[in-house]
């Protein structure tokens, strides 16, 4: 097995699953019916993506762990998602701005991953890029509506952007795993990814009258399993059934 490929695939899968889990918390709590359905549908796409990625990670690892083992029996320190995905859902502006930043990232990442020399990741990316492009169209419209809406909606969207921005640096962090994947032609280079991402998010934020914060202190640690205080609560809820009834299936 390739330890770096396992680690890299796990990162992709964990980002998708934790983002999907947070979004799914809105199911039944959306501000109105159409948006309730919209957020839940996006969550479904992300969880579906996570299933494919975690199943593949299990295959790469070669120890017989499947998608469910990886999703439901890993402890906090074994999770590799970026911190931005695990932050509590906050208000609708916070969820929307976070999803917009992540959709733009996923759109760029998976477009490049379509050219990955790893055929399975390239295949998953071909599906994922179309979905993220659709999600981005949806969250982009909402960012405009909230940012350039009322004084209250602008205030909330700006506050969300200020709180979230320091967490975006982690999306472009490099380390030996990332470098090895880049060298093998499996992962795209983080530097060009960051430029493309900025190019995607800046114009809509500007049109929405939202100001990108200046220099901020980057919040990182997720890739090494160092999570925020919110992660344990999220896992407790997500993993409860498998922890209480190990191996239970239906």
């Amino acid at each position: 097995m390739s330890a770096a490929l396992f680690e890299y695939t796990l990162r992709l899968g964990d980002d998708a699953l934790i983002d999907g889990q947070r979004l799914s918390e809105w199911c039944g709590h959306g501000p109105f019916l159409e948006e309730d359905v919209g957020v839940a549908n996006t969550a479904l796409d992300l969880i579906g993506r996570a299933r494919l990625l975690l199943a593949y990670a299990g295959t790469v690892e070669g120890k017989g762990r499947g998608e469910d083992d990886l999703a439901y029996t890993r402890d906090e320190r074994e999770w590799r998602n970026v911190l931005i995905t695990e932050l509590p859902r906050g208000d609708f502006a916070f969820t929307t701005v976070r999803q917009f930043l992540l959709d733009a990232f996923n759109r760029q990442l998976y477009e490049r991953l379509c050219l990955s020399l790893d055929a399975t990741l390239a295949g998953i990316a071909g599906r994922a890029v179309k979905e993220s492009e659709y999600h981005l169209r949806h969250t982009g419209e909402w960012v405009l509506r909230l940012g350039d809406g009322t004084r209250e909606s602008n205030r909330r969207a700006q506050r969300a952007l200020d709180d979230l921005w320091p967490y975006t640096a982690e999306l472009f962090e490099s380390d030996p795993v990332q470098e090895q994947m880049e060298a093998q032609g499996i992962a795209p280079a983080t530097a060009s990814l960051r430029a493309a991402w900025l190019h995607t998010v800046e114009p809509p934020l500007r049109s929405a009258q939202l100001m990108i914060p200046g220099n901020t202190w980057p919040q990182t640690g997720g890739r090494q399993g160092m999570h925020s205080e919110h992660m344990g609560f999220l896992l407790a809820e997500m993993q409860f059934v498998q922890r209480a009834y190990p191996g239970q299936a239906w």
């Binding site: 295949g123 071909g126 949806h138």
Partner: protein, 159 residues
């Protein structure tokens, strides 16, 4: 019938599988949708290849189960359902005949990928329509409304 013995009757199997309906849109078969990619034989095993529409679409599991159950019922016991991700599914794979069936069922068919043409109301054919929500009752649909006959309708998302 074909278990581990003789080579499975491929033409009959292909005919049976291509008539399986989509669980959410029962006017379309999985062949109409472009989900069914191939029916083949490897040794004594029948291999059915399908491509998911959306990665999170819950119907994919139902389709897989339907294929297995239908083939078992027809005497095919050595069956593998294989998920093929690449090339990624696109609404352009839905053929003209299937588009007409969708519309008759009350779902506006997807535009060709990249097209910006109008979306027709499946009830009165008016092009005076607007999007209510980018997402609808299933992963593959958006919600629209006709501004002439005032009926809401599902639009099959173009992807």
């Amino acid at each position: 019938m074909a278990t581990n013995g003789p080579t499975p009757d491929i033409d009959r199997a292909r005919d049976i599988v291509s008539r399986i309906k989509d669980p959410e849109i029962p006017v379309l078969t999985i062949a109409d949708l472009g989900v069914l990619r191939d029916v083949g034989v490897e040794g004594h095993r029948l291999v059915v290849t399908i491509t998911p529409t959306y990665t999170g679409c819950p119907a994919m599991k139902a389709i897989e189960d339907d294929i297995r159950a239908t083939l078992h019922g027809a005497g095919y016991h050595n069956v593998e359902v294989r998920m093929q991700l690449s090339p990624a599914w696109t609404t352009d794979w839905i053929e003209e005949r299937a588009r007409r069936k969708l519309e008759a069922y009350g779902i506006a068919p997807p535009r060709p990928v990249g097209s910006r043409g109008p979306i027709h109301c499946p009830q009165c054919r008016s092009t005076n329509t607007e999007c209510i929500s980018e997402f609808g009752s299933t992963a593959c649909k958006a919600l629209y409304r006709c501004l002439d006959c005032l009926e809401p309708f599902d639009y099959f998302k173009c992807i």
